[in-house]
């Protein structure tokens, strides 16, 4: 029986077989790994992606919106539905990014050692980050596209300009995902995620102009909204979705989001190296 078992070829002599040369495209198999994992659970996740815009549009846009419109005539003359949904669009990208950048990343570091398995091959830290973050961007893009589609069915957007809000929303999500990757690589357990969730993500959700203009905030709180990425996404999305965008403002917001992503990338490279290359 064992005699019939084949044995893999011995190692090639260096001259006979060309070795696979590590190239600059090695982030792609990393991306491929995460996609393969995702294929096991995609159905449940896609269901959630449809449910979330439905709930938000019905409760905030239409439910709360009818009250706001009746008592205050909308926000600055704009129906509340049109005001709030572009903001929530940006905020949901933040939630999705947070969801994709915490447990899975910590798991790959601590529990299933996916990253360590990759690092034993020609893959390097940059490939790991680029490949995994590309996967996260795919998730944020998918969720955002579904959100826009579902919300549009309810007449949530005033203009086709909302299509430009798509890439900006993805950037908003990544402006959270990348720094959260950097943070996660410093964590031993999931305790830090609770702090992140309670003291950063939830307050941002509530106070970044998502539900009401930040002029309503006390003056000393406004600079906080300016620094954090969510307000930039919210403001750019709203300006686009309402149909008469302030393009210079949108460009400024985009530049800021890219800046946060770049800084986050440098931090992530540092914390990942510190954690994984010991």
């Amino acid at each position: 029986m064992s005699a019939s078992v084949s044995t893999p070829n011995p190692q090639p002599t260096p001259t006979s077989t060309p070795q696979p040369t590590p190239g600059p495209a090695l982030w792609r198999p990393v991306f491929g790994c995460w996609v393969t994992v995702y294929k096991r659970t995609w159905l449940g996740s896609v269901f959630g992606r449809f449910l979330s815009p439905l709930l938000f549009v019905l409760s905030m846009g239409l439910g709360l919106g009818s009250l706001v419109d009746k008592s205050a005539g909308g926000v600055g003359g704009v129906p509340y539905l049109h005001f709030v949904v572009p903001g929530i669009l940006a905020a949901q990208a933040m939630w999705v990014a947070m969801g994709e950048s915490t447990y899975q990343v910590l798991g790959a570091i601590r529990w299933n050692m996916k990253y360590q398995a990759m690092l034993a091959t020609p893959i390097g830290i940059d490939d790991i980050l680029l490949g995994h973050l590309t996967y996260v961007a795919m998730q944020v893009t998918g969720a955002t596209a579904i959100f826009v589609g579902v919300a549009a069915l309810f007449g949530s957007f005033g203009s086709w300009w909302v299509l430009l809000a798509l890439p900006i929303t993805v950037l908003t999500g990544m402006a959270f995902a990348v720094p959260i990757f950097a943070f996660t690589a410093t964590q031993e357990g999931d305790g830090g995620f609770n702090i992140l969730f309670r003291f950063i993500i939830t307050p941002l959700f509530l106070f970044s102009g998502t539900f009401f203009p930040i002029d309503q905030l006390p003056a000393f709180l406004r600079p906080i909204a300016w620094v954090t990425p969510l307000w930039h996404g919210v403001d750019a999305n709203r300006s686009l979705a309402l149909g008469s965008p302030d393009l210079v403002g949108v460009l400024g917001h985009t530049a800021y989001l890219l800046f946060v992503i770049a800084i986050g990338g440098l931090l992530a490279r540092h914390t990942f190296t510190k954690r994984l290359v010991v």
């Binding site: 078992v5 044995t7 893999p8 190692q11 260096p14 696979p20 491929g32 393969t36 034993a120």
Partner: protein
């Protein structure tokens, strides 16, 4: 500068690894030739894994010189890793994926095409005797199967050196023998093996040459046979007494054999002729609860060199 195609695949001089103030690998020297099977034998914490991680170019060298294929891991990490197969001490398989998906994904990390990866995976599933489990998830597999899969996975890039960190730790005897059989095949086909173990029988079975490590240092090196000849006698007489303390029995049998080791649960008498030593013990009127003559092993070498047993 070393010729990259020479038969000296791996060379370390004064290799050192520290974690903070703690020195895990303390200036060790070794070299491995193409086709050789080279082992690190040592107890828990000896620094075997730390050494293997440096050799695998995943852990930076703290001090000394390390060259693989004549290249420096600090500057050519990815190029060197492309030519290595790594079986880490702890499996890093994707448990929620299938057996074949694990092979496919791993092969892609080496830049191999999808079709190439698939054909190599089929061949390796056969080698690892996992064909019938190809489509099942990894998680429910037995420890031995997972280990065979890890070895199969490490071979997907057709490595020139295979690094195995405790390949059979925690497996039952049957699974270990199945695994040794696979490793023998590779060895016969000329794959260079570098492995660590704290099982002396594994070292004796698999290694042409080995170093004994303790507290980050190399305390002896040679072939398993030559180490036994150099540091032990041909035979060992093991005596057990019906007491908690074996130390005072040591005095009673002093002078018999070449050397005596006192362990908490038994006495070891090192002698060329174990039966003669047993007869001498009997002549002195000493009645052990049990007495057993066996051949010397690497365990005895280790005990002699460090005063401690390998596996406790």
């Amino acid at each position: 500068m070393t010729d990259p195609d020479s038969d000296l695949l791996l060379q370390a001089t004064g290799l050192t690894k520290t974690f903070g103030n703690f020195t895990a690998v303390d200036g060790i020297d070794f070299a491995v030739q193409r086709g050789e099977s080279f082992g690190f034998l040592g107890p828990n914490g000896a620094g075997k894994s730390s050494t293997m991680k440096m050799v695998g170019c995943v852990s930076p060298v703290t001090g000394g010189v390390l060259r693989l294929f004549g290249q420096d891991p600090a500057t050519h990490g990815p190029q060197i890793r492309a030519r290595l197969g790594v079986v880490p001490q702890k499996d890093t398989l994707d448990e929620e994926l299938t057996v074949q998906e694990n092979l496919w994904i791993y092969g892609r990390y080496f830049g191999l095409s999808r079709s190439e990866v698939r054909s190599r995976a089929t061949e390796l599933l056969d080698f690892a005797q996992l064909e019938d489990r190809a489509r099942s998830k990894v998680e429910p597999l037995s420890g031995g199967m997972k280990r065979r899969l890890t070895i199969a996975r490490s071979l997907i890039s057709r490595p020139e050196i295979l690094l195995l960190d405790e390949p059979t730790a925690g497996l039952d005897p049957q699974a270990r023998h199945a695994l040794w059989d696979r490793l023998f095949r590779l060895k016969r086909n000329g794959v260079t093996l570098v492995l660590t173990t704290h099982y002396m029988d594994e070292a004796e079975q698999l290694c042409d040459r080995l170093v004994v490590m303790d507290h980050g240092k190399i305390v002896a090196q040679g072939s398993p046979r030559s180490l036994i000849t150099e540091f032990s006698t041909r035979e060992v007489l093991e005596l057990r007494f019906d007491t908690d303390d074996h130390a005072h029995h040591g005095d009673a049998i002093a002078g018999i054999g070449e050397r005596i080791e006192v362990l908490p649960d038994r006495l070891l008498v090192y002698a060329e002729d174990g039966d003669a030593a047993a007869a001498a013990v009997h002549l002195r009127g000493i009645q052990p609860m049990s007495s057993l003559v066996r051949r010397s092993t690497l365990e005895d070498v280790f005990l002699h060199l460090t005063g401690r047993t390998l596996v406790d």
